[in-house]
């Protein structure tokens, strides 16, 4: 459980946008997973199965709650390895671009926002994303493509 509690909490947080709700959702998800273990298919990867239950819990809470905190970024970004440190102006510009991108992601319809969060913020594979969100792999691909198109329109 220790191995999964971090990502479980983060996925719940990305769904509900609220730390307290995310903690409750993750906790409820783990308890439900335990009680549903007889339905887990031996040989399947545990992580996406567990995260799916947590994400469902978070989505149920999301429906009951309208408040979602905006995503925020760390104030100072480390420079990418091997690259020269950007000038203060360039760093500021880059920081503003990233903030704009976060705002754009936050404004996406929930299904697209979640697929972007799973794929790029949590670094889940397409298969894992499909399992966690309870959709087909093809839907992950098409939903990701639509979300990226939409982000390009608003972020470019």
């Amino acid at each position: 459980m220790h191995a999964y509690q971090g990502i479980a909490f983060r996925i719940a947080y990305l769904v509900v946008g609220n730390a307290a709700e995310a903690e409750d959702a993750a906790q409820d998800g783990f308890v439900k997973a335990y009680r549903a273990l007889h339905r887990f298919r031996s040989g399947e990867p545990l992580r996406p199965w567990l995260l799916k239950i947590v994400a469902n819990e978070a989505r149920n809470r999301r429906r009951a709650s309208t408040r979602r905190d905006a995503l925020t970024l760390r104030a100072t970004a480390e420079s990418s390895s091997g690259e020269a440190a950007p000038s203060p102006e360039a760093a500021l510009l880059e920081s503003e671009r990233r903030r704009a991108l976060v705002t754009a992601v936050d404004s996406l319809p929930e299904p697209q926002r979640l697929v972007i969060a799973c794929r790029y913020f949590l670094d889940l594979s397409e298969d894992e994303t499909a399992e966690v969100l309870g959709i087909r792999r093809g839907t992950v691909k098409s939903r990701t493509a639509r979300a990226l198109d939409r982000l390009r329109e608003t972020y470019a």
Binding site: M1, H2, A3, Y4, Q5, G6, A8, F9, R10, Y13, A19, A20, A22, E23, D24, A26, Q27, F30, V31, A33, Y34, R35, A36, L37, H38, F40, R41, S42, G43, E44, P45, L46, R47, L71, T72, L73, R74, A77, R97, R98, L101, V102, V105, I116, A117, R119, Y120, F121, L122, D123, L148, L151, R152, Y155
Partner: protein, 229 residues
């Protein structure tokens, strides 16, 4: 990778998440006392094994058929009392492990250096776990506690007695067959069930959980355990 996708990954790396809560105590408390709900941040901090260990139980112990009576946690090993033992074949405690092999090969395979008694047989190992015979039909198994690889399911007829081994917490399991379930370290549900007829001494030593299984009395097992340090 297209620029937008690279930017999204970078943003993901820089996202600020609230501090990660410690979920394990709350979940454990709720599982051990199902009717009650525990409020956030009101739970006691308990020492416990990884949930994956506890999770393994339900594969073999459907809740509708058996009631979980009580958990014991020693290092990475969980012992749980149930009404009915799941079906499991008798197998050697080293079944499923590669070997025998040399100590160095075992260390390489298991990923840690075991604590061994002065006299032991060849070593069998797999990722995070190794075992060796230390007497007739008596096996010493060591597993990394953080992987939480194994679980024992004991019936009401099994005696469970907390003991101290070289100043470390332990548990003596005696009197009736019990079932061991292994859950692999890569998070895939490859559980293996083994029925153990002998007595077992389990104790934690740092980040390793040790157990001696065999036809031993408690005094004999404790004597052997004291030579392993």
């Amino acid at each position: 990778m297209p620029e937008l996708e690279r930017d999204l990954r970078e943003v993901g790396r820089l996202l600020v998440f609230p501090p990660e809560p410690e979920l394990v105590p709350a979940v454990r408390a709720r599982l051990g006392d199902a009717p009650r709900r525990f409020a956030r941040r009101r739970v006691l901090v308990l020492a416990l094994a990884a949930l994956v260990v506890a999770l393994a139980a339900a594969f073999a112990v459907p809740p509708a058929r058996t009631a979980i009576l009580r958990f014991f946690h020693i290092g990475g090993e969980t012992v749980e009392r149930v009404e009915t033992l799941p079906n499991a074949p008798h197998r050697s405690p080293v079944a499923g492990l590669a070997g025998p092999m040399s100590l160095e090969q075992a260390i390489d395979r298991a990923g840690f250096r075991p604590i061994l008694p002065p006299r032991h047989g060849g070593i069998y190992a797999d990722d995070g776990v190794l075992a060796t015979y230390i007497g007739p039909r008596t096996v010493l198994t060591e597993a990394r506690s953080d992987l939480g690889l194994s679980k024992k399911v004991a019936s009401r007829q099994t005696r469970l007695e907390p003991v101290t081994v070289n100043d470390h917490d332990g548990l003596w399991i005696e009197g009736a067959p019990h079932v061991v379930m292994y859950f692999d370290s890569k998070g895939r549900g490859q559980e293996k069930h083994v029925r153990i007829a002998g007595n077992v001494l389990v104790w934690a030593y740092g980040s390793v959980t040790l157990r001696i299984e065999g036809p031993l009395t408690e005094a004999q097992a404790l004597g052997l355990a004291r030579s392993i340090r």
